[in-house]
Symmetry: C2
Subunit: 600 residues, 2 copies
Amino acid sequence: MFQDFETTADPSKGPARLAALRAEMAREDLAGFIVPRADAHQGEYVADADKRLAWLTGFSGSAGFCIALAEEAGVFVDGRYRNQVRGQVDLDAFTPVNWPETQPGAWLAERLERGARIGFDAWLHTAGEIEKIEAALDGTGIELVTTDNLVDRIWSDQPVPPGGDMRAHPIDFAGVSHADKRADLARTLRAAGSRAAVLTLSDSIAWLLNIRGNDIPHIPIVQGFAILHDDARVDFYTHPGRSAGIGTHFGPEVSLYPEVRFDAGLVELDGPVRVDKANAPLAVSRMLAAAGIEVAWGDDPCILPKARKNPAELDGARRAHLRDAAAVVEFLTWYDATAHAGTLTEVDLVVELESQRRASGALRDISFETISGSGPNGAIMHYRVSRESNRTLGRGEIVVLDSGGQYDDGTTDITRTLPVGPVGPEEKTCFTRVLQGMIAISRARFPKGLAGRDLDPLARYPLWLAHLDFNHGTGHGVGSYLSVHEGPQRLSRLGEVALDPGMILSNEPGYYRDGAFGIRIENLIAVTPAVRPEGGDDREMLAFETLTFVPIDRRLVVTEMLSTGERDWLNAYHAEARAKVGPLVSDAARAWLEKACAPI
Amino acid sequence: MFQDFETTADPSKGPARLAALRAEMAREDLAGFIVPRADAHQGEYVADADKRLAWLTGFSGSAGFCIALAEEAGVFVDGRYRNQVRGQVDLDAFTPVNWPETQPGAWLAERLERGARIGFDAWLHTAGEIEKIEAALDGTGIELVTTDNLVDRIWSDQPVPPGGDMRAHPIDFAGVSHADKRADLARTLRAAGSRAAVLTLSDSIAWLLNIRGNDIPHIPIVQGFAILHDDARVDFYTHPGRSAGIGTHFGPEVSLYPEVRFDAGLVELDGPVRVDKANAPLAVSRMLAAAGIEVAWGDDPCILPKARKNPAELDGARRAHLRDAAAVVEFLTWYDATAHAGTLTEVDLVVELESQRRASGALRDISFETISGSGPNGAIMHYRVSRESNRTLGRGEIVVLDSGGQYDDGTTDITRTLPVGPVGPEEKTCFTRVLQGMIAISRARFPKGLAGRDLDPLARYPLWLAHLDFNHGTGHGVGSYLSVHEGPQRLSRLGEVALDPGMILSNEPGYYRDGAFGIRIENLIAVTPAVRPEGGDDREMLAFETLTFVPIDRRLVVTEMLSTGERDWLNAYHAEARAKVGPLVSDAARAWLEKACAPI
């Protein structure tokens, strides 16, 4: 199993570790020290060696930070983790803080006097992040100072950083060679007048060099830093000796160096050097500036081309999604054939689903830990089932099942909501409204130039009409055998980047009733040029190609609520799912598919 | 008639006037001079005395500017006026420039050498506008310098500025006394640490002081400048002797001064003084700065409270809209009873419609010049019918009729699209899609905090599905017996201000097929708190109250295209129109209304 169900939090060790940290703070004459969840690569998952926040506080969420002061230690967490943090930290030692409502600068300014110095590790914070805190502290006399990482000093059994083999990502899947990608980005740099760009995001480097690895769970990246020169050469700084299996993949224009030489590589550069303020560690720009090298702030140049999938990547995504759909259909066949109400648990669903994906023989990893939330657990948007929280499915409930697979040819992410026996009208009505929003996005055609923000309301409108809504974005970008959450595109009020052909997004409206039930329906979709129909305007428009083909449970649909267009879409979708996935599944699953895809 | 149909453009006089302007430029050692369409109050309409751009160039559009250089004179106009400008200016003397694609700074930098000086009148440009041009000229050595208005020097028969009587806007319509408004805004200023605010927008002053006038067409304002002090006193600088009819309306806390004393009033202030960079003439902030008075940039404090209509204003709007609807229904009755195809012209419709509004006895003015576009003229979004452009309605065509009235209790704005005899399926299909978008906004319910940008896509989605769209916003804010275009709220990609209860907006999606036909359907709507229905979330949501009640032509609706919800909305709307407007119209119109409002 890629997934486990252990409860990792251990609040008991926090107080002693906090005391040890405070001793180090006193030694450095610091009034405080910031311990972020992030590592130097600002990714969604971190290696065990980088789990400083969890080690210190017990809090294991995917975002947040702790600011330890002499008398108080604030653990800043967002809305997803307000409940979780209270179960994971010792509340006598740590104080949960509602973030981003409370900002670190304001929190510090309220608690400290002029002259106070707050330490932080310049490798674990971006320039933009520190700039924002410093702006809030302007005039307070409180100072942020870079220091050693004080947690690393006291963490005696800190794990070693990842150092496993890397492997080449074949051109059949990548679509473009790393030489061509490097040449293309080098042209971008020259056009912008920059001599080099510093790359610190692991998925940017994996994309650019067409490599994959196993440094962290669920995202097949290789940790390291890279410098892209304006002549298309790349210096890649990573843990030594891990390129054994990669043969001649890199060629003479890509040089490997041990990570410890990165600092030296930086200060030898000619400026201007592009650095991404939103992603690069502050240490990078500080070091360049100290060496008198001009920093040109600008986006990591890999981000946009990585987001716009090329034809080979889109073909791979289609294949990966059909393979994944076949596994999910086998799972659904098993689910309907098994006496589930009062018998199966949330964990049982996760185990069966992962085993069906493994049976394909192509599963590299799961894309993220499967969310399996029945009844009231379904209303917890980022629910992680553990042995302790595990529930037996109850008759009349619904279950949200959000999961995905990592395959060489693509990353999948799918959510289906399933009935546990006969379900009441309230759940069905809400499910149908969620489905209407999901269909609105699937069918959308829209002028080129619009961003995700401009489409997000379409997914909510059917819910809004009934005074309902959901508190998350409608969709996120998805990588190509990379991160399941990939920017810059997103279907959300925060999505300000124009959608471009090739971008893959999730389409996952939901509805959550606290203490009662949760609903989410999710397909992945790819942005594609819209073909102008007879009578259409002479204007460039885009549309979405659906990638995910798994039946949507018709038992939860109130047919009369659907418009003709919505019903036509659903029937066409099911017909396509039957045609595409039918040939890939067992006889039993094919029979199940036939019924699940019948027109309504 | 408030409307005329004359062609005001006279391209023949431009060259001589341009030569005279160039002589003045030479005398001042200027390489160029900027002549904007705007006056010092940045309103939509300007008085005859301020029509400098039209006088110089012949161009009569509602936005744009001319930059006269020694050898070239660019007339900068936006997309609405690309064709019109070519008919109105002498193209041997003036060069149309596509604005905002071409920005004045870049245009100047391409044409002039270091050391060149460009003159402008600091009363006719905002600080923000000049700041933007200066930023573009940074490093070019080209300088913007404030000068006398050189057009005024050579315009020997320049009309006198408006100076007619002002009148009090009764509290029954205004809802809040000017004393309470002043006290409220003074608190805002004190909370922000400002000692005073400079008000230069005419509708802000009219709103704050509860006054109305006739200085310019269609917007009942009184031109002048005002200073609001943090103790709630107001100094109002305007043309002398025009408050004769206003009696004791102002009281001791509002002082009137001649406009020529405004400069002196400004430099006597204690700072900080709030000035709106987007609206106030640059002359204001320059004068304050020169006198050593601190300028606090900030929004004109009247804008938001003016936009959020109070209960009396909303009641007034409801009354004004029913009165206006009765007039429009009489017009529509006349239209259907008259042999129109091949007989009536666009002008005939305008004349009849205005006369029906006048018959109410309450019409103060029309809100803007009625747009009456038949057949291909309907596709010209801002079409103004003149004796020359006037067309006879042709059988099988459709006509767009966009009009409004100014009444003491409210400002109306309504568009209906009418068939001229039997209409083809293409027009009907497009009309139905426009109607679906208009209904989507009318029915919308949405979380508090959203802006117009977040709702605009809902009005376009039914068109998008057929690869269609329209090139204007879905709606604009509307004043209360003030400007028919009032910010800051709008339903548009540019609408970033959160919608608040009381705000009035137009809801007017359209569709335009060049050379063929135009469609627009427009109601006014007011933002209102949404009542939580049984089963709704415990979250604050807003909705729209419809203000306009005039039947939408059922002969243009393809019923089968509507969803159940859309059809229900249309039938309920028509039932309400019949119930509300029926008692206000003639017997003939009541009979017409009965048929026009029958359910579909």
